[in-house]
């Protein structure tokens, strides 16, 4: 595996509360990983530390072997690590296309111009291509604030991908979305990301989505990594079943496999 990101004994405390500790994770180029864990298990804390939102209390974060520990969010983004959010972070009063254009503008220009007009045919077409890739081009001229949560999630993810990141963190990409839309959203975003060589780590509570889209799974429990490996192995892991998934999920899956027993 060509490792692009490695965390070494990563720890974060809030006063006496240990939100994450002893986190040692390696992520390879182009890999797709699912992260599971109950609320408060440390999943988002991990993402926040790697993306610079939180500074680790101790430990190291290495990107291509270079330490990025304690770097600012924007500097980490510029290195090629981007993220989407559990609650989409968008420019709500602007249109969808303007959101993407702003993202493209910032991604392209380290020192943005103060006199050159932003909108031209080239950037408009590029933004439309991105929207088409995420199948939301029909909302281009709509104000973000009036759109459904599922669409907002896709815009949030689309914005995170405009700088062609090497590593993308998706924090619960299907949370707050109806059960019917979940698979659809994941299908759209995985197919949109397939054409890139971006490694994707997504946090998810829905085990069906994990089983379908994550070849590798990391399970968090009480701030530590409980299991890390092939999806099948992790989801079968006794501790993971007990502390993270709950045995119910497997009973249900087994029942479905056996054709259903009343």
């Amino acid at each position: 595996m060509n490792t692009i990101l490695e965390t070494v004994d990563l720890k974060r405390t809030f006063g006496a509360v240990v939100a994450a500790s002893n986190i040692n994770i390696k992520i390879g180029a182009g890999e797709v990983l699912g992260v599971i864990g109950s609320n408060g298990a440390g999943k988002t804390t991990f993402v926040n530390m790697v993306t610079g939102y939180l500074e680790p209390s101790s430990g190291q974060i290495l990107f291509h072997g270079e330490s990025i520990t304690g770097k600012k969010t924007r500097d980490i983004t510029r290195l090629g690590i981007c993220r989407s959010f559990q609650i989409p972070q968008l420019f709500m009063e602007l249109t969808v296309i303007d959101n993407i254009i702003i993202a493209l503008t910032v991604a392209r220009e380290v020192k943005p111009s103060m006199l050159k007009p932003t909108i031209n045919k080239e950037i408009f077409d590029e933004a439309m291509d991105i929207l088409r890739r995420f199948q939301i081009d029909q909302y281009a001229e709509s104000e973000v604030g009036v759109l459904a949560q599922g669409i907002r999630k896709l815009i949030d993810i689309a914005m995170a991908t405009v700088g062609d990141p090497e590593l993308l963190f998706l924090d619960e990409p299907t949370s707050g979305v109806s059960a019917d839309e979940k698979m659809q959203i994941m299908d759209v975003l995985i197919s949109a990301l397939k054409s890139t060589k971006t490694a994707v780590l997504f946090i998810e509570h829905d085990m069906e989505i994990i089983e379908k889209f994550a070849p590798r799974v990391i399970a968090f429990y009480e701030g530590t990594v409980l299991a890390d490996g092939d999806a099948a192995d992790v989801l079968e892991n006794e501790k993971v079943r007990e502390f993270v998934i709950g045995k119910e999920f497997h009973r249900q899956a087994e029942t479905e496999q056996q054709g259903g027993i009343a």
């Binding site: 420019f91 254009i101 503008t105 991604a107 943005p112 103060m114 006199l115 932003t118 405009v162």
Partner: protein, 319 residues
Amino acid sequence: MMNLDRTEKLLLAGIPILILLGFVLPEWVVNYIQVSLGTGLVALAVMIQMRAGLVSFGQGLYFCIGGYAAGMAGKFMGVSDIFILLIIGMLVSLFMAFIAGFLLRRYREIFFAMLSLALSMILYGLLSKLEVLGSTDGFNIPSPTYLGWAPEGDTAKHALYIATCIPALLCAALLNRYLRSPMGFIGEALRENEIRLEYLGTSAHRAVHIKYMIAATVSGLGGVLWALALGHVDPEMTNWTTSGQFVFISILSGVGNIVAPLFGTFILEIVRVYAVEASPNTWQMILGVIMLLTIIFLPKGLWSLIQRKKASAEETTQK
């Protein structure tokens, strides 16, 4: 050319039109236009900050710094050339904003508003006590010269009027260009979501700082033009009532277009004239009522009337 949009073309076309009007309109109207262009630039500065979600209740600070810098250059250094005075006013304002910006860029909403107000009132207190600068009375500024040319009488008035119109409208056109630029777009985004901006790879603090410095420079320019138009500066320029007036104009005119505050300032000046005439002791009440009605019926300012009209015209065309 530079791919000018409609507003920029309007502003550039407005330069010769305003200059010609200066020879046709009554003197008192020309005076109001001249004064309005000076204060209008400060309202513009307030407006561009408002578009980023920053309400400055202390923009009078840079209006005053610009005016005093030019005045002091004339009084103590004997500088009378208008071009040098304009540059001095803008540079001193820019420098002060560069320093103060490191503090202000960390605050938003009411904290930004109050801190900007506090800074302007510090200067007000200082100037009111400084006898060498005339304390509360301020001091007079001599008529400017133009690259060695020192006109007198009506020629001097016209020259100063022209010298006000050109930089004011050019500055407005440049500001319009700035709002259309990536940096201007980032300003809009700033109002909406700073976290996302940081995660896109840019610094929200830096964007605020740059915007603050631009606003200060423009206000400084407005201050010099206003001071030269009146031939006088005093600490009232940085008093909270003056700063409040700039915010008033921005709300009255709306932030939808760069031209709006320039019109808004002129309208306010005219309304004030009639309000004072109609009710000399309670004219502020008339302004207050206008403000109230604007907020209730036109929350996006007077400019939204033009936008509505434009939108309905487009609808009619489509039908």
